[in-house]
């Protein structure tokens, strides 16, 4: 079926031009890596481990993807990637191993099919997920997929959705079975009907990661008509209050925790009112797709595989006569030709509809029951290994150390090992039907380990002076609306012992299962005892000489090592771009000084310094002239920056190679002072990218008659002695007198002016001179 629920907004398509331009600039060596990264990552383009190849994460709103789109994805993966695609736990589809220069081609190509990686990474509003069985599920209250897609279109139009303090994840569930995980997202919306009206129960502050949290109830019910206001208000609260400079504790959950739910709710309610007063938000009314019920019988065949297919892979739809097929995609990895062939099934079964699942699987909905055997045979020709979705064998796993910069262990390789073992020993058993496994290569939760019934989390331990791949074993995670619970750690196991441990554990659990009771109660108590006993039995670690095998991760030949491990890219964004520019400006100043006031370097300093903060004003100039004039407009004229720089455009224009040494030095000193001023402004920037207004605040410029009464050279005087000396000197002066001090860079310049301000003195100006700073202080 080629029905398009989601329409990629024109704004996103236009914005792609910025990506192209940044990429070209970067490839031509005109902008530094850190700066390009700030553009690249919010466009869903991540570096692979090693930094040579890239991944593009295409957002699939609510997991709804049509056959033309699937074919396009497969084609893009073949043409620009390594011919493989990966389905994520956020219903995105990733293309891997793309050359950097081809990343725009992927964006450009997929755009024509209504797909984009915009907001696939970085500090953005990420893919909005929804129950994968929306519209066909027997249990659902109503079809939430339409809401998820409408909300996606609304937010993708807004620039602010890509400039958030940190990532922001929204999900919808159609019923309390909660296939989508409303308590493990920043914002979770649960379908409900009250007084005959559709609406949602709202949860906030959940999320999985190195510090996972369960979401908290914010609103019992908001009608569907208020959905846009509600989520916009939440987004605004986060936009304004998230602490952008501390990216490790900067998800909505930390904000909720820090201020307390009551305080947060107050803030939300006042924002909700403000949004409602200010704008009218009518989300697009997306018509859910449906078909007439039919009489259609499931064919009966004497084929063992087909019988298992019917038993494990089929979900009867709410609509009579139709089934939804679930295809287990091991490790979420699928080849381009397989994906294209699946899309091609449309030729024979014309109304089928595809969905990407949070379990990293694929679903095909609207299959007529009578066609099930035929489609089974066709699928068998396409996929090797698709039986038994939603079982113990359907391991959820991240990409791990194979491609990820953060991955510690090779989780996909362990997953394959575990799947082999399960296939050989446990198919059809109780544990097979009732348990699941989630596997993560590191503590970040892309593989969703905190909600796995049995989970493994990659870790490294030092044994015999060498790093050894280990996994933490967790039990009892649960994703089920308000019953959601995080898995608890039972102990650690060497990666090489993990399959054996798991096999023994499953055997023991299987024995208990026959008379067993509530699965979660069991996992919390009895299972922990079993696991701990087995973990103790497997605790022995041979020395390197005795058992090198333990020092090599699954799927590898070489010794386990942590080299290649880098910082995560997903927090990259505005702050990185600002800091990259500030660093560039500083380097330019230093080099200008070394190269007898080289004018190119001075110009570079003007360019980087004036551009640094423009990004928060939504301007990203690509040449120095624009940067300087935009700075004048957005910062000097807006009274944010000091009016000392009112003439900056002329000062900049006058820089040319005809200047004599004295004039060059003058420009150099101006650039130094200007750079220091920008650094000060950056420091004063608050978490929501606002600046204290210069006009209202006391940020006086120096008048000519304000000459220092005393000058103190505090170069080489460490903290806090430099401060004390300045303070003592000020004591001897009269109120209003000026003291000039010269301070070292680093700690002194960071601390001393601030401390003197706290003492009630006024810092009139900070001027950088190479490695020193000249500060004028007025006694308060």
């Amino acid at each position: 079926m080629n029905y398009n629920l989601f329409n990629l907004p024109e704004e996103v398509k236009k914005d792609a031009e910025n990506y192209r331009r940044s990429l070209e600039e970067f490839l031509a060596d005109k902008i530094p890596d850190a700066r390009f990264k700030g553009v690249r990552v919010p466009w869903g383009v991540y570096s692979h481990r090693g930094g040579k190849a890239f991944m593009s994460r295409i957002r699939i709103p609510a997991g709804a993807v049509n056959t033309a789109q699937l074919k396009a994805l497969a084609e893009a993966a073949k043409k620009y990637g390594d011919g493989r695609l990966h389905i994520t736990t956020r219903q995105d589809i990733q293309i891997h191993n793309i050359k950097l220069e081809d990343t725009f081609k992927v964006i450009d190509y997929l755009q024509d099919y209504g797909l984009s990686p915009r907001g696939g990474g970085g500090n953005t509003l990420r893919n909005i997920t929804a129950c994968p069985f929306s519209g066909i599920c027997k249990d659902e209250v109503f079809d939430v997929r339409a809401n998820a897609i409408a909300l996606t279109e609304y937010f993708l139009r807004q620039e602010s959705s890509f400039m958030l303090p940190r990532k922001f994840k929204i999900t919808f569930s159609g019923c309390v079975k909660d296939c989508s995980g409303i308590l493990i997202n920043d914002v979770g919306l649960l379908a409900d009907i009250r007084g005959g009206k559709k609406g949602f129960k709202i949860f906030v502050g959940g999320g999985l990661g190195a510090s996972s949290r369960i979401g908290k109830l914010l609103e019992e019910f908001i009608p569907e008509s208020e959905l846009g206001y509600c989520v916009t208000a939440l987004k605004n609260v986060f936009y304004k209050n998230g602490d952008r400079k501390d990216r490790h504790h900067n998800r909505l959950r930390f904000l909720v925790e820090k201020m307390g739910l009551d305080e947060f709710k107050k803030l939300y309610l006042s924002e909700f009112k403000a949004v409602k007063d200010a704008e009218h938000i009518a989300l697009k009314d997306i018509q859910a797709f449906s078909m007439q019920e039919i009489n259609s019988e499931i064919p009966v065949k004497e084929d063992k595989q087909y019988r298992d297919f019917l038993r494990y892979n089929i979900r009867p739809q709410r609509q009579k006569g139709y089934s939804c097929i679930l295809l287990r995609i091991p490790q979420g990895d699928i080849k381009a030709e397989e994906l294209a062939a699946l899309a091609g099934l449309e030729g024979d079964f014309k109304d089928i509809e595809f969905r990407a699942l949070q379990s990293q699987d694929i679903a095909i909905a609207w299959v007529e029951n009578s066609c099930l055997f035929d489609i089974f045979l066709k699928i068998k020709n396409i996929l090797q290994d698709f039986l038994y979705p939603d079982t113990l064998l359907d391991v959820t796993v991240c990409k791990g150390a194979t491609t990820c910069n953060l991955g510690l262990c090779n989780s996909p390789a362990l997953s394959r090992k575990i799947e082999e073992m399960i296939k050989a020993r446990f198919i059809g058993k109780e544990v097979f039907k009732r348990l699941d496994i989630k596997l993560n290569g590191c503590p970040n939760s892309c593989g969703q380990h905190p909600i796995g019934k049995i989970s493994f989390v990659g870790a490294a331990k030092r044994v015999d002076n060498r790093p050894v791949p280990f996994y933490k074993v967790l039990l009892g995670g649960r994703r089920e609306a308000e019953k959601t619970a995080l898995a608890k750690e039972a102990g650690m196991i060497a990666a090489k012992n993990a399959p054996l441990f798991l096999e023994e554990f499953l055997n023991k659990v299987e024995e208990k299962f026959r008379e067993s009771i509530d699965i979660y109660e069991f996992l919390e108590a009895e299972a922990v005892v079993i696991a701990k006993e087995l973990l103790a039995r497997h605790a022995y670690m041979p020395s390197y000489l005795e058992g090198r095998n333990f020092y090599v991760d699954w799927g590898r030949e070489d010794d386990f090592s942590l080299s290649g491990l880098g910082t995560g890219e997903c927090g990259a964004g505005v702050i990185d771009m600002i800091e990259a520019d500030l660093a560039d400006a500083k380097i330019a100043i230093e080099e200008a000084e070394k190269k007898s006031y080289d004018i190119e370097k001075i110009k570079k300093a003007f360019f980087s310094a004036s551009r640094a903060l423009l990004i928060v004003k939504g301007v990203d100039p690509y040449n120095p002239e624009d940067a300087v004039s935009e700075f004048k407009k957005k910062f000097v004229d807006a009274k944010i920056a000091s009016d000392e720089y009112a003439d900056i455009e002329n000062v900049f224009k006058a820089i040319n190679d005809k200047l004599n040494a004295e004039q060059k030095k003058e420009k150099f000193l101006y650039a130094g002072k200007f750079t220091a001023h920008i650094n000060e402004l950056y420091k004063s920037m608050d978490p929501s990218f606002s600046f204290p207004n210069c006009a209202g605040e006391s940020k006086p410029s120096l008048k000519n008659n304000e000459a220092p009464k005393r000058i103190m050279d505090l170069k080489g005087t460490p903290c806090p002695i430099n401060y004390i000396k300045a303070k003592l000197a000020l004591e001897d002066l009269d109120t209003g007198d000026i003291l000039e001090v010269i301070l070292d860079e680093g700690e002194p310049i960071r601390n001393v002016p601030e401390s003197l301000k706290n003492d009630g003195h006024q810092v009139l100006s900070v001027k950088q001179e190479g490695k020193f700073y000249r500060i004028l202080i007025k006694k308060g």
Partner: protein, 271 residues
């Protein structure tokens, strides 16, 4: 007078305090404090005052350092056993801070020598170990209008009050007469935990520093009582006694007197 670099460095952590600053430090360096007794109270008090840079400190004590002193009198150390306490204290303070000029008085204070001693100092720390001297010091300070920081300790308890003569109550407003000889504890009962002496001695130093700097509120008209066993402080208001024998407008004591004391009580009951 201005601070040299070494002094800025040495006192940096208190100069940083807005209430101290360079001006406050100069006040400290110009201040003169007399500490009577270098025992459990005088020892910690003297150390903190010297460390803070009080310019001149007088130490009065007629005893020699004994091994049993060392459990609490932390200004003295094992090699000083047998040395006059005033001299032992002087050496320690000079080592601690060369900025401090220390006057050592190896003498027993009495009604005849006390006025000459007080004359050269701004404030007095009472670290005496007996009632006759305590009353003598109180009376002399009231008569010469010299501020006095009183403290007393006994077993697990301590008390402290700052006396600003005429402006607030004096020790006699609290206790008009020394107790009769039989009422004070016997030698065996008069033990003390060293740290309790330390706490009260340091509180005395703190009062002196506040007085010199002119900051905060002194313990005038307030008796602070410390109970070490429960680690609690409480303050009791002490009114000025309008009929006080020494500090009222119509004093009955106008001449200093030396009270008698039995040998054992002199040493142990109150340090």
């Amino acid at each position: 007078m201005s601070l040299n670099d070494l002094q800025i460095e040495r006192y940096s952590r208190q100069i940083i305090l807005p209430q101290v600053g360079g001006k406050g430090q100069e006040k400290l360096l110009n201040a003169k404090v007399l500490i009577i007794g270098t025992g459990g109270l005088g020892a910690p008090s003297a150390l903190y005052l010297a460390a803070a840079g009080v310019g001149r400190i007088g130490l009065v004590d007629s005893d020699k350092v004994e091994v049993n002193n060392l459990q609490r009198q932390i200004i003295h150390s094992t090699p000083s056993v047998g040395m006059p306490k005033a001299e032992s204290g002087r050496r320690r303070l000079s080592e601690l801070n060369p900025d401090v000029k220390v006057d050592a008085y190896n003498l027993r204070i009495n009604s005849e020598n006390i006025l000459a001693l007080l004359k050269n100092y701004d404030i007095v720390v009472d670290g005496t170990d007996n009632f006759p001297t305590r009353f003598l010091v109180n009376d002399a300070c009231v008569m010469t209008k010299k501020p006095l920081v009183h403290a007393g300790i006994f077993r697990f308890d301590g008390q402290i009050m700052t006396i600003l003569p005429k402006a607030g109550p004096c020790y006699r407003c609290l206790f008009p007469e020394p107790p009769p000889p039989g009422a004070v504890p016997s030698c065996q009962e008069g033990g003390i935990l060293g740290a309790v002496a330390g706490i009260l001695g340091v509180l005395q130093a703190n009062e002196v520093l506040k007085f010199i700097l002119g900051i905060g509120e002194l313990l005038t008209g307030r008796l602070l009582i410390f109970d070490a066993l429960t680690s609690t402080f409480r303050t009791v208001k002490v009114p000025k006694d309008n009929d006080c024998a020494v500090c009222s407008d119509h004093p009955t004591i106008t001449k200093l007197v030396d009270y008698e004391q039995q040998a054992c009580q002199i040493k142990e009951e109150m340090e």
